[in-house]
């Protein structure tokens, strides 16, 4: 009691303990994970042979594409564009529940609202709590009971095919084993074998036990931090509660019935929202990582006119020789003055070269 400085010991010790704890936590998570040695092909086989179709988990998605910050509020026309762009930028938390091939629920979380996509057999519901709307569609039977083409191959075949497909322009290697959502995982690293692309590498972490991909990271060529990252922060392989997949729209919600276009292989997550018209005529120039998609000018130019009058357009793009370009860390888009659109994971200069051909 005669030494008053002793009374200040906790005030120094507590921050010290907190700092040590904060610094130690990532070290522990990043510690080397002991897993049996495997070759890239064996990991590919493991991933391809993954029969996991029953799990639940939380996904963390973040993108840093180097796009300018978008205004979060605005008039309706702007907000619809930024709604779409919002999925590309920023970060999201998504909860996923999957029970078998035909029961799934995806919840995209926002601070005070949530978007739900629920598939239960052939019933598909899309619910948005922000404006309390629900949309329902019925999948054609063929699509509901369809077998994925992968099932006709053995995992080993699939791994071979994949390796044969990618090897000419991709280097497949294994990175450090990691730990994701508390599970040991192998990391497959795909590195483009060309300098022309903006993509530096793609890393896929594969659960060492089940073969389920637990994390996908896309790195830009000169960045240490991933430009796109999707990772499980929690995952469980127990069957989710059956109640989760039985959805009835809440009282008071605006319910719309949508019919799927007769296209056979339409997937439920492509809900008819944005215009899906006249995207015919697009051509792909080149193959592999530095391929460029070229869209010729549409006859009436209406879609483009709507786009170019949006205030966001001038904010996102910059004037370059022959048009306006959008630069991001992974993707470039060039819209020429005559209305053609070029896009690809390449530099704007290469897009200009393709446009000039």
């Amino acid at each position: 009691m005669s030494r008053p400085w002793l009374k200040w010991v906790p005030a120094v010790a507590v921050p010290a303990v907190i700092v040590v704890g904060v610094l130690a936590a990532p070290l522990q998570a990043g510690a080397a994970v002991d897993l049996p040695e495997k070759t890239p092909k064996q990991v590919l086989e493991l991933a391809a042979g993954s029969g996991v179709d029953t799990f639940s988990g939380t996904l963390e998605q973040s993108s840093d594409l180097g796009l300018p910050e978008l205004p979060s509020t605005g008039d309706a026309a702007t907000s619809e564009v930024s709604d779409a762009l919002e999925l590309l930028t920023g970060s999201h938390t998504v909860r996923v529940y999957q029970n078998g091939a035909d029961k799934s629920r995806v919840q995209v979380r926002y601070p005070m609202s949530e978007r739900n996509l629920i598939q239960n057999g052939s019933d598909v519901w899309l619910y948005d709590s922000a404006d309390n709307t629900a949309a329902h569609t019925t999948l054609p039977d063929a699509a509901a009971g369809r077998t994925s083409p992968e099932e006709t191959y053995t995992p080993s075949d699939l791994a071979d095919t994949f390796l044969a497909d990618v090897t000419p322009n991709t280097i497949v290697s294994l990175g450090e084993n990691t730990q994701i959502a508390g599970r040991g995982a192998y990391e497959l690293v795909l590195t483009p074998n060309t300098a022309d692309t903006l993509v530096g590498s793609v890393a896929i972490a594969v659960d060492s036990d089940t073969g389920l991909p637990l994390r996908v990271q896309v790195f830009a060529s000169d960045a240490a931090e991933p430009a796109i990252e999707v990772t499980f922060t929690a995952v469980s392989f127990e069957a989710p509660d059956a109640d989760l997949f039985a959805f009835t729209p809440p009282a008071g919600a605006t319910v719309t019935e949508e019919t799927l276009p007769e296209r056979g292989d339409a997937t439920p997550d492509k809900t008819p929202k944005a215009d899906q018209t006249d995207h015919g005529g697009a051509t792909v120039v080149g193959t592999g990582w530095d391929a460029v998609i070229a869209v010729p000018a549409s006859a009436d130019g209406s879609g483009l006119a709507e786009l170019t009058t949006s205030p966001l357009y001038t904010q996102l793009t910059e004037a370059v020789d022959g048009g306006r370009a959008l630069r991001s860390t992974l993707l470039s888009v060039l819209i020429t003055d005559d209305g053609r659109v070029f896009a690809g994971s390449v530099s704007v200069e290469r897009l200009q070269a393709v446009a000039a051909e």
Binding site: K7, V9, P10, A11, V14, I18, E69, M112, N132, A253
Partner: protein, 312 residues
Amino acid sequence: MSDSQPAPGGTSRGAPDTGGAIAGIAAAAQSASATAPARPLGAWALLVSELNVLFRRRRTWALLLALAAVPVLIAVAVRLSSREPSPGRGPPFLDQVTQNGLFVAVTGLIVSIPLFLPLTVGVVVGDTIAGEAGLGTLRYLLVAPAGRVWLLVVKYLGAAAFCLAATVTVVTAGVLAGLALFPVGPLTLLSGDTIGLAESFGRALLIAGYVTVSLLGLSAIGLFFSTLTVVPVGAMAATIVLSVVTQVLDSLPQLEWLHPWLFSHYWLDFADLLRQPVDFSSFGANALLQAGYLLLFGALAYGRFLTKDILS
């Protein structure tokens, strides 16, 4: 230091007028005192008397009434307005209020969290030590055979009890106003699922618990400020200003690295309790963060209060 002092045997009352939680503490006090004679009954008497003083104060009631007015005003305004609130305008869930009165409580909390709740908590917690010092009653409190550490703990528990009372007041007033003015039925969660009335009340209680926990870090900071000064208004203002500054920092995207460390960062994440299935991850993250603030500022307050010369 409190352990070395003689125990004169205090008067631990059941305190029926201060609610079940406090009665529980008093009961725990009795069992604790039975096993550990070194912990004097007088210490628990100090807690009971602190809670008594706090909740008998007219100022406390005025603060709680002001908080209760927030959801009531919202409910009345929506009821009297001829226009249906449209989705996406005004505070979240406002458009749901006309369909289900229980959302009055949620909207009331959302409106109260940024300013009204920190304001009232700041007023109460800023007054804890500085108020006694300012009135010249602090040294009389220290004459009680409980010691400075226990006095600090008692003051903090009093502030925490006020946090709980404040949150429960907003929720209760909201539920009552909703019951009186709007139809009440099954509750639509953010995920689009509906739950029955009993579960809705359960969720409302969970949310009240979440918001109470959210305010514990701020209370610890306010307690520390209160040990620094003999002018209670100074401690109150510092606490309230800090809570506003923190929320401003939390809204700046340039400071994203700092956000998870701000005590207000998870304040509005109680919405996670309105998802289906309930997501407790933000509850846990919030509780951990608040515990960190409590430890840090508790240690600072300990250092300051135990080395301080009490002159008044």
